[in-house]
């Protein structure tokens, strides 16, 4: 029998765990190699921990969930967060910039029935995370790579460069240079295969920040496309709104002086 796999859900849309069921060609092969011990979206049969690998989807938004993730950590040998919610707090981290009581009053007739935390936070803010998979949603090929790597005990091959690399490799025409379309590709973590530019739109950063992004250069690029300061802030505040790097980038709304100005 293979290692045990558990899949857990916190505040999220279910899309990242669905990515596993969306591996139509590989699902039965994976199920033959691991013991699926806890995966409520797929099976009512639940085996008690400990588990070799836990995949965690979703962010922490309630006091109960903050407790639950600690119990899951205790039961898991390797804990992998899957997706932007688990890794950066998700789109629901937009509450972190607002007033959650006011938010509840807007959505619910009886906000007093709602019990929630003021912030949506990533799993790593609460427990040790062994590996993070980016994306909103994750890329299922990356998920298969992680599961395959864990099965044989090697390090998963997940690049941390920017979407620009993938875009060039794909032979796309740059949407910023050719069409003046705002794009977060230069500062966004690879993994999607440069999907948006391939469809002639700018990257909207759903994989979160790449390593060492150049904030001022990116701000200059965005301003040159006609974006206002408010537009830039909004652009970073979507599915990885809680990412510290994106928060920092969203505050840099002025580009570097261009070369001509510097030399004169």
């Amino acid at each position: 029998m293979g290692p045990t796999l558990a899949v857990w859900k916190f505040a999220s849309c279910d899309g990242c765990q669905l990515s596993l069921l969306d591996c139509e060609d590989e699902l039965l092969a994976v199920a033959g190699q691991v013991r699926i011990a806890h995966f409520l979206e797929a099976t009512r049969e639940v085996q008690p921990g400990p588990y070799d690998v836990s995949l965690v989807e979703g962010s922490i938004t309630t006091a109960g969930d903050a407790e639950r993730i600690r119990r899951i950590r205790d039961m898991s040998r390797t804990l992998v967060t899957i997706g932007a919610c688990a890794t950066a707090g998700g789109v629901q981290a937009l509450r972190n910039f607002g007033d959650v009581a006011e938010f509840a009053a807007v959505v619910y007739a009886r906000p007093d029935y709602i019990s929630t935390l003021a912030t949506s936070t990533p799993i790593a803010d609460h427990v040790k995370v062994d590996l993070e998979l980016r994306g909103c949603p994750i890329d299922r090929r990356q998920l298969l790579e992680v599961i395959s790597a864990l099965l044989v005990g090697r390090k998963p091959n997940i690049s941390s460069h920017s979407v620009c690399f993938e875009c060039k490799r794909r032979g796309n025409v740059c949407v910023v240079v050719a069409h003046g379309t705002p794009c977060l590709g230069p500062v966004t973590h690879a993994g999607c295969g440069a999907l948006c530019p391939t469809y002639r739109r700018g990257c909207y950063g759903c994989f979160g920040p790449s390593q060492t992004p150049n904030a001022a250069a990116q701000a200059g690029l965005l301003r040159a496309t006609g974006m206002s300061e408010a537009d830039i802030t909004r652009y970073y505040r979507t599915f990885n709104a809680g990412s510290p790097t994106f928060i920092e980038l969203s505050r840099v709304t002025v580009g570097p002086p261009d070369a001509a100005e510097v030399s004169s």
């Binding site: 999220s12 849309c13 807007v106 979507t238």
Partner: protein
């Protein structure tokens, strides 16, 4: 078998539903005192944080409400914003939207039929366990599901949270040559869909009927998917713009989803059975033939038999996707411009689980000033609870384990999407 006069039954963490929920049943003697679906999916406050976003953003943002039906959210959002801005998409773009939506119906329905629902009828805890005995069946299901995802990936860029949808249409329209291989996949999928309908028709369906009013979008001439007008089996019909006058949402203590009812009428049901009952005549001849062959009559009021409707709708969606691809001529531009203006707009489409309503108000700068989203599962919750109460009453002689499993199955009949109700199950039966 145990028979205790007073008991409570809890289904904690319902399996094979999308999202997080629980069920609580309280029994006193032979009477079921209370049945509650507890939706404990933590609230995410979409309607609050949509305020201040650009009018172009709600399709991508609201897609994140549900990973199983993101296209439904994108389409209802586009409809509502285009309505607010007074712009309508031209025909070739509308055809592509319907094609994308067919992909989502296929993917979502086949996920539910094979991976979530069929194991109940066949006595397996999951499709993976079913595959140990009948790999051929599960492989057929996965292959059919993949055909739906192939549409989503080609036209949308990816199956979950497609990137190619924008207010006004698409970022990029496919070429006919790109769609051609999809047609080959779909021709094979059509045979698989027909075989699926034949397969599920052989399941045993418990005798159970409800008399809820059912509501769906109706569009004379064709089976409503990405557009239509709300209508009910009780003869009520109203424009999408009057949705909030007719659908009243209430907040109940045990749920982070709101409960909806029809004003002056009460609980109601949306989803495949409602669509089928209201629009059977607009199915294609082949899909109608499939409906007859699986024994669906003029209406579907047995929630167990909703799996038959999903199978018939899958046949329809595959056929419809093929028809659109065969007639496809690329639009001159993949989108129309949608300049923002101050005002309010309404949009409703048929998500795989039923009517999905959006309303947005835009300010003079084109920013969202208010948003309202009414997903299918919150509309169904009161009817599901009513069905469960009658369901449990007829089965009080079962022991807790049996009753729990049967209640779980009954809930899965509705394919509740709890992440949508912005989610689901944990069954608690309290016998007092």
């Amino acid at each position: 078998m145990t028979h205790r006069p007073d008991r409570t039954l809890d289904v904690r963490a319902l399996a094979r539903v999308e999202g997080e929920g629980a069920m609580h049943v309280r029994v006193r003697g032979d009477a079921v005192e209370d049945v509650r679906l507890e939706i404990y999916e933590p609230p995410r406050f979409f309607e609050a944080f949509l305020r201040g976003r650009r009018h172009t953003e709600p399709p991508d943002i609201t897609a994140r409400i549900c990973g199983i039906c993101p296209v439904a959210y994108q389409m209802s959002a586009c409809r509502a914003i285009e309505d607010a801005c007074g712009v309508a998409g031209p025909e070739p773009i509308e055809a592509l939207r319907r094609l994308l939506y067919c992909g989502e119906w296929i993917e979502s329905h086949v996920l539910h039929i094979y991976l979530l629902h069929a194991p109940d009828f066949l006595g397996y805890p999951s499709a993976i366990d079913l595959a140990r005995d009948r790999a051929d069946l599960v492989e057929r299901g996965l292959s059919l599901k993949k055909a739906g995802n192939d549409i989503l990936e080609l036209l949308g860029g990816r199956a979950i949270h497609p990137v190619n949808v924008r207010v006004g249409g698409f970022y990029r329209a496919p070429t006919p040559a790109e769609l051609a291989p999809l047609a080959r996949t779909l021709r094979r999928a059509l045979d698989q869909a027909l075989a699926t309908a034949e397969w599920v028709a052989g399941f045993e369906f418990p005798d159970f009927h409800h008399d809820h009013e059912m509501m769906a979008l109706v569009e004379p001439g064709r089976y409503a998917i990405e557009s239509g007008t709300p209508a009910t089996t009780g003869g009520l019909a109203f424009p999408v713009s009057a949705f909030e006058e007719h659908v009243i949402e209430e907040h109940v203590a045990h749920s982070t989803a709101l409960h909806a009812r029809l004003a002056g009428r009460g609980r109601y049901l949306v989803g495949p059975a409602a669509r089928y009952t209201l629009s059977r005549q607009w199915l294609s001849p082949l899909a109608r033939q499939a409906a007859d062959a699986v024994g669906l009559g003029a209406e579907c009021r047995n929630p167990y038999r909703s799996i038959l409707v999903r199978a018939v709708e899958t046949v329809y969606a595959v056929e419809e996707a093929l028809r659109i691809i065969e007639a496809y001529e690329p639009p001159p531009r993949p989108y129309v411009d949608v300049p923002p203006r101050e005002g309010q707009g309404f949009g409703a489409t048929e998500a795989p689980r039923g009517v999905l309503f959006h309303r947005y108000a835009l300010d003079a700068d084109g920013l969202v000033s208010s948003a309202r989203i009414v997903p299918p599962t919150s509309q169904n919750q009161a009817s599901i609870e009513d069905d469960l109460r009658r369901f449990v009453e007829g089965r009080l002689d079962l022991d807790d384990e049996q009753l729990t499993w049967q209640c779980e199955q009954a809930i899965r009949n509705y394919d509740p999407c709890i992440s949508c109700s912005t989610h689901f199950l944990d069954l608690r039966v309290e016998r007092l």
